[in-house]
Amino acid sequence: MTRARIDELLRAAAEEGPRDAAQLKRRILASAGPLAGGSAAVPAASGSNGGNWQAWSGSSKALLTLPLLVAGAGALLWASARTRPGEPSVVVAPAMAPTVAPASTTAGPLAAPSPGESGASAAESNEPAPASSVLVVNVESLPPAPARHDAKPRSTLAEELGLLERARASLAGGDAPGALGALDDLDRRFPRTQLRDEALLVRVRALEASGRHSEARARAHAFLEASPGSPYAANIAGAIGEESTP
């Protein structure tokens, strides 16, 4: 295998891109609605053949941005109150109509862990105000605005990868029980880990290495039955000395 061949392959992948990036950008802006400065949400903006993708990610895209806009309005009120020191520091906020409530229904299938799940989401942190018509707030009485720059999104993927790496390293170092411990940690802390298949492969190998063959086989067979088409199927079957039958 020559270095040139590898470079050629990687270059082909690097040069790939959306067929019509400008059109895709417009579509995303339209679907992101007011937040992105686009027109009102276009529910049917998604493309012709997104069937499979949408089947598992079906979010109510049009609803996502409203709470952010409301938050933006709040920020402006805050800023404008502070930039006019001569005036009474009282802000009159319009009562928020409970129309933002549907945003909380966007969790659905999207609720799987993703980066940035650390703090309250924009939707959660902008609960509609109770039904009073006008809310009068003395700015001086408010707590300082939260330092939003500190709100670094927590990446669960990084942590999950760290645990998987620990399991793999333990196994490579001949410490199968250590590997199984790390995998148990992964399962406990991230029950819905997106590295589930990877983790199972390492677990099956670790069980084999510990002499727990029947347990390894049971785990592997359960996986192969549930996900015969997985890219890990061959490796998992191989780990128990079998061949996968795609």
Partner: protein
């Protein structure tokens, strides 16, 4: 009645509006997100929809993303989404792609070149899918997206030394897997 903020008033207040921030990230990172989705298994036919989905998550979470980390945020969302999709697809028969349709499209260039390129890309993606995820992420960032190791370390929130050693292993793993694929 209080006027809603406009981009002008926010700019006057010295802050970049959410709308500007969103647009800037979309301009800068759309292709990066699209390719990342592809490298982690999203078929070409689904990549536009998937990229749209990633940016809508970004829009929703904008206030939690620290300035300067926009690219890494959308990268993580894209990888997560692609892996979720890969799992979901493993449970049902893979739909046939019409990826070859554009070979007949004269605007798409020479059909033979296109076919070769598609085959090369498919090979890269098969090999990446067979690699441990902690190696494929580093390889994609450093050798496909040409980020520096420092940038990859920032993206993956890892020490630079870890990225360097993973990259070494990733390149070796990639090379061996390509060799195996090509001698099949």
């Amino acid at each position: 009645m209080v006027a809603m903020p406009t981009r002008k008033t926010l700019a006057a207040a010295g802050a970049e509006s959410d709308a500007d921030r969103f647009r800037r990230a979309l301009d800068a990172h759309l292709s990066f997100v699209w390719r990342t989705l592809r490298r982690f298994g999203v078929p070409e036919a689904d990549a536009d929809d998937a990229a749209q989905d990633v940016f809508l998550v970004f829009a929703r979470k904008l206030s939690t993303v620290a300035p300067g980390r926009e690219k890494w945020f959308v990268f993580h969302v894209a990888v997560n989404r692609a892996l979720q999709r890969r799992r979901a697809m493993a449970r049902r028969p893979e739909r046939l792609d019409d990826d070859l349709a554009d070979l007949r499209d004269p605007a798409a260039g020479d059909p033979e070149d296109l076919l070769v390129r598609k085959q090369q890309i498919a090979l890269v993606d098969r090999v990446l899918a067979s690699m441990p995820i902690e190696l494929s992420t580093v390889l994609v960032l450093c050798d496909v997206e040409h980020l520096t190791m420092a940038e990859a370390a920032e993206a993956l929130e890892l020490p630079a030394g870890t990225v360097a050693s993973r990259l070494r292993r990733a390149r070796e793993c990639f090379r061996l897997a390509v060799e195996k694929e090509e001698t099949r």
